[in-house]
C-alpha cells in the first residue's frame, strides 16, 4: 500500500461523461480522475457500467457527452488503436488473446505500437528489423520472467488453462509499457492461490514499473487491499469516490453494494 504523493499529478481526467445505447443510458454524467502512479479501482454491482467505463477510456465506445483529458490535454474522438499508441493498455473480462499464436507471439504483439522498422526493413529483415526484433524479444523475456511463464513460451495460447491465459494477457498489456493500464476483472474465475499471485503481479507492476492502474474487480477484499482510491458506480451513476475506507463508510455505497457483499 503506497502512500499518496503530496501533489499528485492527474493522468486521466473524466469529466461529465454520458454514454447512451439507443435510448438506454449506460453511463450518466460521470466524473472522476486517475492520478499518476496510483491503483484506482472501479467497483459496482453487475450492470453498473464498469466495463462501459473502461471501453470509453480506451476509445472503444464514444460518449455522447463529456470530456476526457489525458496527460493534461483534451482528447479528441480517437480510435482505440490511436489511444493504445498514446500509452493505454488493457486486459479483458473475457480473455481476448490471439488463440492461434504462441505465448511469446502474443506478448510480442504488445510491442507492436513500438515498432519502428518500415515494411521494407521487415522484408529484408537484416538490419533494423532484426535488431529491433531482438530488442523487443529481450524486453518480452523480462516480462515472461516477471510473470513466471517461461515454460509455456512456445505453447499456442489456445491450449493453456484459464489462469495462465489471464497471465499471458497481462503480459501482453505490460509489453506495451503503458502509462495507464486498464484491468477488467483480472482475478475473475480464479482460485485463491491464483488470485494471490495476480494481486502480487498487479502491485509489483505498480511499484516496480510505476504504471498507473485502473481496475475493475468484484472481490471487495482484493479491492480494499490493493487500491489507493475507489470509484463506485451503480446503474450508470457515480455513487461514491474516495479511499477504500471512505467508500466503505459511504452509506449510499453500503446500500447499493456493500450491504449485500458482506465484507
Amino acid at each position: 500500500m503506497s502512500e499518496e504523493a503530496a501533489t499528485p499529478e492527474v493522468l486521466l481526467d473524466i469529466r461529465n461523461i454520458t454514454l447512451r445505447f439507443g435510448g438506454v443510458e449506460a453511463l450518466r454524467d460521470i466524473s472522476f480522475d486517475i492520478r499518476k502512479g496510483e491503483v484506482r479501482a472501479i467497483i459496482g454491482p453487475n450492470g453498473a457500467g464498469k466495463s462501459s467505463m473502461l471501453n470509453v477510456i480506451n476509445g472503444f465506445y464514444h460518449p455522447q457527452e463529456g470530456e476526457i483529458w489525458f496527460k493534461g490535454e483534451r482528447r479528441g474522438p480517437l480510435k482505440p488503436s490511436q489511444i493504445a499508441r498514446q500509452g493505454v493498455a488493457r486486459t479483458f473480462q473475457n480473455i481476448a488473446l490471439f488463440s492461434g499464436m504462441t505465448t511469446l507471439d502474443n506478448i510480442m504483439t504488445g510491442r507492436l505500437t513500438r515498432t519502428r522498422a518500415t515494411m521494407l526493413d521487415q522484408i529484408i529483415w537484416w538490419g533494423r528489423a532484426e535488431r529491433e526484433e531482438y530488442e523487443h524479444r529481450a524486453r518480452v523475456e523480462e516480462i515472461i520472467d516477471f510473470l513466471e511463464i517461461q515454460s509455456i513460451r512456445k505453447t499456442p495460447v489456445g491450449r493453456l488453462p484459464y489462469g495462465l491465459q489471464k497471465r499471458v494477457e497481462l503480459g501482453r498489456a505490460l509489453a506495451a509499457e503503458p502509462e495507464l493500464l486498464l484491468l477488467d476483472e483480472p482475478m475473475a474465475g480464479m482460485n485463491v492461490e491464483e488470485k494471490e499471485d495476480m494481486c502480487r503481479f498487479v502491485l509489483d507492476v505498480n511499484e516496480e514499473f510505476g504504471t498507473t492502474i485502473a481496475l475493475i474487480e468484484h472481490d471487495m477484499g482484493v479491492v480494499m487491499d490493493i487500491s489507493n482510491r475507489v470509484v463506485v458506480l451503480d446503474y450508470g451513476r457515480k455513487i461514491g469516490d474516495g479511499t477504500p475506507d471512505e467508500v466503505r463508510s459511504n452509506p449510499e455505497v453500503i446500500d447499493a453494494y456493500l450491504g449485500v457483499a458482506h465484507d
Binding site: F21, S51, N55, F60, F92, Q93, A96
Partner: protein, 328 residues
C-alpha cells in the same frame, strides 16, 4: 405511357421471374447454412446431379454405362423403357435422400466442430466429386428434359398488355410455372418448419446448437434431413433450369448466380433469399437495359455481385439480419 417506361416494366417483370429461379437455388444454400452453418458450395452440382438423375431415369439410361462397357467390354446403354415423370421424380427424391445420408455418414460426421472454411472446402471437394461422379453415371451429353411444363410466350399476357398499353409484354410461361412451383415450395417449407416436430427441431438447431442438443434432438438426423430437403430443392431448381436449356454440365454454374442473392438476403433467411433473388433479378435486367449499352453490355455476371457488395458496405448484416453490436 412512354415506350421506355414500358420496356423497363417489361424488363423488370422478366427480371423478377428470373430472380425467383435464382432464389430457388439460393434457398438450398440457406437451408443448409441455417441448420449447420455450412456454406454448401455443392448446391449447384446437386442441382445438376438431381436433374441428370431425373432425365436418366425417365429415359431409361443405364447408370455408369460407359464404365461398365469399358470394364466388361459390353455394349449396353439403355434399359429401353420410358418411365412416367411422376415415378422418375419420386425415385430421384429417393436418390437425393440417399445422397444426404451418405454425405452425413462419410463427410459431415467427421468434420463436426471444424472451422467454417474447412467445411466450405469440404463441400467444394464434394462438388468436384459429384461433378465427376454424375458424368460417369449418366454421361456428359446434353439431355432434353420434358416434365410437361408449358413453355414460350404467354399469349394472354401479350394480348392483355397490348390492349392496355399498345405494347405486348413478353412473359415466358415456363417462368410463370417456375414462380408458382417456387411459391408452393416455399409455402411447403414454411409449413414444414412451423407445424411439424422435425421442422421445429430444425429451427431449434438453427437458433442454438447446444440448446437443441440438450433437449434431445439428434444433430445427425437433422443434418440428414436438411441435406435431403436441400437435395429436393436442388431437384426442383435443376428441373426448372434444365427445362430451359437442356440438362448439361453448365447447370452447375447457376450456383454462382445464387451467391449474390445470399449476400443480399443473408445466409440464414428464407425470406431474404426470395427478396434478394427478386432484387437481383430485376436489378440486373434493368442495369443491362439502361447502363449495359453505354459500357458494352454483358454486365450481368458482375452486376449482381457489385450490387450486393455496395449494399453490404452500408448494411453489413444483410437485408433481414439484425444489427451487429460489437462487444469486448
Amino acid at each position: 405511357m412512354s415506350d421506355q417506361l414500358l420496356f423497363s416494366i417489361e424488363a423488370a417483370i422478366n427480371g423478377l421471374m428470373t430472380g425467383i429461379l435464382y432464389a430457388l437455388v439460393a434457398l438450398g444454400f440457406v437451408l443448409i447454412f441455417k441448420a449447420s452453418e455450412i456454406f454448401n458450395y455443392a448446391q449447384g452440382v446437386m442441382a445438376l446431379f438431381a436433374a441428370l438423375t431425373l432425365v436418366g431415369l425417365q429415359k431409361g439410361q443405364v447408370p455408369f454405362a460407359e464404365l461398365i462397357n469399358a470394364i466388361f467390354g459390353t455394349n449396353i446403354h439403355e434399359f429401353g423403357w420410358e418411365m412416367p415423370t411422376a415415378l422418375a421424380l419420386l425415385l430421384t427424391i429417393g436418390v437425393m435422400v440417399l445422397f444426404a445420408i451418405l454425405v452425413e455418414r462419410i463427410v459431415l460426421r467427421h468434420l463436426v466442430n471444424q472451422a467454417p472454411i474447412i467445411l466450405f472446402m469440404a463441400t467444394i471437394g464434394l462438388a468436384f466429386f459429384m461433378e465427376g461422379f454424375g458424368d460417369l453415371m449418366w454421361g456428359s451429353d446434353i439431355k432434353a428434359l420434358d416434365i410437361g411444363l408449358p413453355k414460350g410466350l404467354s399469349e394472354t399476357v401479350d394480348q392483355t398488355t397490348f390492349e392496355w398499353f399498345g405494347y405486348g409484354f413478353f412473359i415466358d410461361r415456363l417462368d410463370v410455372a417456375a414462380a408458382i412451383v417456387a411459391a408452393v415450395l416455399v409455402t411447403a417449407l414454411v409449413l414444414f418448419s412451423q407445424y411439424t416436430r422435425i421442422g421445429r427441431a430444425l429451427r431449434a438447431v438453427a437458433d442454438d446448437h447446444q440448446a437443441a442438443l440438450s433437449v434431445g434432438i439428434s444433430l445427425r438426423l437433422i443434418w440428414v434431413i436438411v441435406w435431403a430437403v436441400a437435395g429436393f430443392v436442388a431437384l426442383v431448381a435443376g428441373a426448372m433450369w434444365g427445362a430451359k436449356s437442356g440438362v448439361q454440365f453448365s447447370l452447375s454454374l447457376i450456383a454462382l448466380k445464387a451467391l449474390p442473392v445470399l449476400m443480399l438476403g443473408g445466409f440464414t433467411s428464407i425470406p431474404g433469399a426470395i427478396v434478394g433473388g427478386l432484387i437481383i433479378g430485376a436489378g440486373e435486367k434493368l442495369f443491362e437495359l439502361w447502363v449495359g449499352p453505354l459500357i458494352g453490355g454483358a454486365t450481368e455476371n458482375w452486376f449482381a455481385y457489385m450490387l450486393a457488395l455496395v449494399f453490404l458496405v452500408f448494411r453489413p448484416q444483410g437485408l433481414f439480419g439484425e444489427k451487429i453490436i460489437e462487444r469486448v
